[in-house]
Symmetry: C2
């Protein structure tokens, strides 16, 4: 690869309307495509979540828990195709902005084992990056060697690829301002963490272990747990609110005063 890639993960709750099934957020998708185009990173890989395109069908057919009965097959097919439809909007917005974005369905390349990536065939992905394309992957229904199939999150793919390609940085565009010490929706005393390292993260996470809720900070600490292997390898993380204009642009050009920075150890 020409240079270490930047990996940008766009949350499903950023590019879709979370509570309305199969409803995209085209204004946000268009704005983000424009910000990416303006930042023009040399080597970029984009991964997006499913939001309201992925969850309803995956839930209806119980895809995450694996194969139990034949009627789930059509549910798997529908879940994947719904993700193709969301991905199409992202790709078309990127192409519209002059970015040579090429869709790579995660399910074409990946097999998990009990929900964890066991195989990710990366030759075409590397080839596309080398040529100067922007490959776009996404959370998807995938085959699983133990369960038959399951759902693979965009976050897990992001971390896997960041490790494989020794990413310069992972940028998580989410629908909150960053990582808080507590769930800001429940605790007015919650503090936004501006910069934290692995040791700091672990200290904060230890504080949670006695808590009744598995994830007291509005879903973000579950994500952080997924990130740890990459942080341990020294890959920098930026978590920023992609619903606010210019944040993703700034994160891409290296202006990081826009959320939480997790320093690679």
């Amino acid at each position: 690869m020409k240079s270490k890639p930047l990996i940008l993960k766009l949350g499903g709750s950023v590019i879709t309307i979370k509570d309305k099934p199969y409803t995209p957020n085209p204004q946000v998708i268009r704005r983000l495509a424009e910000e990416i185009s303006r930042a023009k990173p040399e080597t970029l890989l984009v991964i997006h979540g499913g939001g309201s395109f992925g969850h309803p069908l995956a839930h209806e057919y119980n895809i995450a828990k694996g194969y139990r009965e034949k009627r789930q097959l059509i549910g798997f097919a529908k879940t994947h195709q719904s993700m193709v439809n969301l991905n199409r909007l992202v790709i078309e917005a990127l192409i519209e902005q002059g970015i040579a974005a090429v869709s790579i369905p995660t399910s074409s390349l990946t097999i998990t084992n009990n929900g964890r990536i066991e195989l990710l065939m990366e030759k075409t992905l590397v080839g596309l990056l080398d040529m100067g394309f922007v490959p776009v992957l996404y959370g998807d229904a995938v085959l699983d060697s133990s369960l038959g199939f399951t759902i693979l999150s965009g976050d897990q793919i992001t971390v896997h690829l960041a490790l494989r390609f020794e990413a310069e940085k992972m940028i998580f565009g989410v629908d909150v301002d960053g990582l808080y010490t507590e769930d800001p929706k429940l605790f007015p005393s919650a503090r936004l963490l501006r910069e934290i390292d692995l040791k700091g993260l672990r200290d904060v996470m230890k504080g949670f272990s006695g808590s009744r809720s598995v994830d007291v900070t509005g879903g973000m600490w579950g994500k952080v747990r997924e990130l740890i292997p990459a942080i341990e390898k020294g890959i920098r993380v930026v978590i920023t609110n992609a619903l606010k204009p210019e944040n993703v642009y700034k994160a891409l050009i290296g202006d990081e005063e826009i959320g939480t920075i997790i320093k690679g150890s």
Copy 2:
């Protein structure tokens, strides 16, 4: 795999309107999905061509001849995405008929070398077939280790997969009635070949060698040349007019009086 797969290739000029850029033929797509659903083959792989979705962009950006300048990158991206859009119509029609069809973009799995398949990563494909899904691939813009990129035809993919998976049969749904001795549009004396074997094919092809036109039979003999390695391995071929109702259904259930049969040697 449960059983040797049937491989069905649907020509681009069947599922799109050939002369109208980016115009599908939704009635035909719907009818073919219904015929496939009714025939219910145990193990089926579908490949389709690009027709008027693939050719205009591939031509505009000169994708087939390989990388020459940076502006082609966006052309590659657009060509591929146009194929995604056509594929979506095929997949949605199949799902509508209760078929668990899963799209696999050829470009995600394949790298060619000077236009010939050098790598086709098949693990997810095999996994999908084993689970009872119907994978759907298509002619596509792909990476090429010599040219940078190129266009890979649905026919070449079909033959490659038929050989790899020891297909029971390849069915080519095209826009003519089968293989003729000469181009029926030019020569009223042209005869439709009902059944032919490899030796017969070679005899007919020898007869063409003195001909001025590269392909005197309306494009079909070029296709046949691509098929020869599979025919040599004993894989049966049916070429039938998929624009005529019931032909694809009959070919799938083994009623082959509907075009040209090429007997595997």
